[in-house]
């Protein structure tokens, strides 16, 4: 159990396919909402923190393959 508003199991999606779909899911959420992402690709462990730094979303926790990300305001 956690505080996630949205749960998405991305299975083994990777790199650009994962990030572009994640962007779409984040855009469909309201500011402040949290997504619980399950991403089994081994590259996600490095990509998710970098992606959050790039986009301004907040990585609340990273316990591969589970990542909790809060959508930025605005």
């Amino acid at each position: 159990m956690d505080d996630a508003d949205v749960v998405w199991d991305a299975e083994d999606l990777a790199c650009g396919v994962l990030l572009l779909r994640l962007r779409g899911r984040m855009e469909a959420m309201r500011p402040g909402q949290v997504i619980r992402l399950i991403a089994k690709d081994p590259g996600a462990a490095e990509d998710m923190p970098a992606w959050c730094r790039l986009t301004g979303h907040t990585l609340l926790s990273a316990e591969p393959p589970v990542y909790r990300i809060r959508r930025k305001e605005g």
């Binding site: 790199c15 650009g16 396919v17 994962l18 990030l19 572009l20």
Partner: protein
């Protein structure tokens, strides 16, 4: 974080691995909030014609057509090198979504603020 990112893609069926990974990376940039340009040049210009990418499906990746469609739907831009396109006698009236034929000045303008560009 704003910013721009360019992928210069020089291959199509002659090296489907490079063509595919180029669009995967472009989608990563787009998904990361970058204003993203794919510059199709040399053999890469063949991808600008509708239907050409249909048969390209590199093992371990989504079909190239799907990657290109998602790039266009996500707001990505595709520039097509005009002399490369003309040299190959391709059809300028049959371009894929998001693509436009340009000269070198458009690429130089896009990169002129120091934006990064990687080549596949």
């Amino acid at each position: 974080m704003a910013g721009k990112f360019c992928v210069n893609l020089t291959h199509s069926k002659d090296d489907s691995d490079r063509a595919t990974v180029g669009f995967v990376l472009a989608n990563a940039a787009l998904g990361s909030g970058k204003e993203t340009l794919v510059f199709l040049s040399i053999e890469g210009v063949r991808l600008a014609n509708k239907g050409f990418a249909e048969s390209i499906h590199e093992e371990g990746f989504p079909p190239l057509r799907e990657l290109m469609d998602n790039f266009a739907k996500g707001g990505g831009t595709i520039y097509v090198c005009s002399p490369c396109f003309k040299k190959r006698k391709l059809d300028e009236n049959n371009l894929v979504a998001g693509a436009s034929i340009v000269g070198g000045a458009k690429l130089v303008e896009f990169l002129s603020d120091g934006s990064p560009c990687v080549t596949f």
